[in-house]
């Protein structure tokens, strides 16, 4: 039998009192596991690192890009108003849109379904400040040179220098969700501590971008 739900959404998990069945469940074989991975928190670090240089070992960006390109990150860094979901990077069900503040459309906010934590009993992922990345942080479809330059440009990345980028990706709870997405979504495969080490090495080298 074909699984219409796909990874990240298991309607059989839904919480029901004993003996209950759902009137609409059979008609709703669709996926909802939105995998938003974004932060509009605009923080400015006092760190000494500065961003966007093209010097140094550009290969240092490769391991960083491997993580940023993972669906847990990239699904909610669209260059449009439409988030993707699931490991298959499908367009989000229900015509979910960015809205004026990256928090969903009025009447259909992200938080209507995505709470501050994963809801395993319903197959719905969640984390604090669940939202899309701002449009300036749209990364989908960029090659690694473009991605690196977008990541390190304070005009596009929320005013962050390299130290602030490291801090953001080390501690932001929505970023950390990518390593514990629950509901059968594939986590970022690199241990977070290893990623932070790789990110820090790249930042300490001046944030070099590949040509």
């Amino acid at each position: 039998m074909t699984d219409l739900n796909g990874p990240g959404h298991k309607t059989e998990r839904r919480w029901l009192p004993k003996g209950r069945t759902g009137p609409m469940a059979a008609a709703l074989g669709v996926a909802l596991a939105a995998v938003l991975f974004a932060s509009a928190v605009s923080s400015q670090s006092d760190g000494a690192l500065s961003g966007g240089t093209l010097s140094g070992d550009a290969d240092l960006f490769g391991p960083v890009a491997n993580v940023l390109e993972h669906p847990r990150c990239m699904n909610c860094h669209p260059r449009s108003d439409v988030p993707l979901q699931t490991d298959q990077r499908r367009i989000h069900q229900m015509n979910i849109q960015r809205g004026p503040a990256d928090l969903g459309a009025p009447g259909a906010p992200c938080a209507a379904c995505h709470g501050s934590a994963n809801r395993e009993f319903a197959g719905v992922p969640g984390a604090p400040h669940w939202q899309l990345a701002p449009l300036s942080m749209g990364w989908q479809g960029l090659n690694r040179t473009e991605l690196c330059r977008a990541l390190t440009d304070p005009a596009l990345n929320g005013g962050r220098d390299l130290a602030a980028l490291v801090e953001h990706m080390s501690a932001d709870p929505l970023v950390l969700w990518g390593w514990a997405p629950g509901v059968d979504l594939t986590p970022v495969p690199v241990p977070h501590s290893d990623f932070v080490d790789q990110l820090t090495a790249w930042a300490e080298a001046g944030g070099p971008c590949p040509d």
Binding site: L28, V30, L32, Q93, P106, G107, A112, C113, F121, A122
Partner: protein, 160 residues
Amino acid sequence: MATMTTTNLNINGTDRAVETEHDPDDLPLLWALRDNLGMTGTKYGCGAALCGACTVHVDGAPVRACVTPISAVVGTRITTIEGLDDPVGKAIQNAWRELDVAQCGYCQSGQIMTAVALLAAVPTPTDADIDLAMDGIVCRCATYVRIRAAIHRAAETLKG
């Protein structure tokens, strides 16, 4: 014998105690409303935030009660269809009646709660605004055209 816990919630302006044998981190608000408190206006459709029939307001924002554990709404203001008596809520419900929006009616609680949230945020919505807000609320009777008309009617009423 199962251990009972008590979770205090503010629902429609009234403090209510939910006594349950379930873990408050796992018991959806929907079932606390329906089974523990007897408030059956909020409907069960899918149990997975796919249909919107269970939509309530938490601090004024629409939330799917079927995927929201009661532990997550302690200290908030919960509004259900039974408590929808503000001017926007009344205007929406009046428009629903005037245009005979409901057919089977099963989803209409979720439709109305979502429409109220939309109008509270966007007092004069366009068709596109309405479609974006309401796309996640499934109506098997396909009353979508009347839903859209009723939201416009309520907006006109509220403008005076």
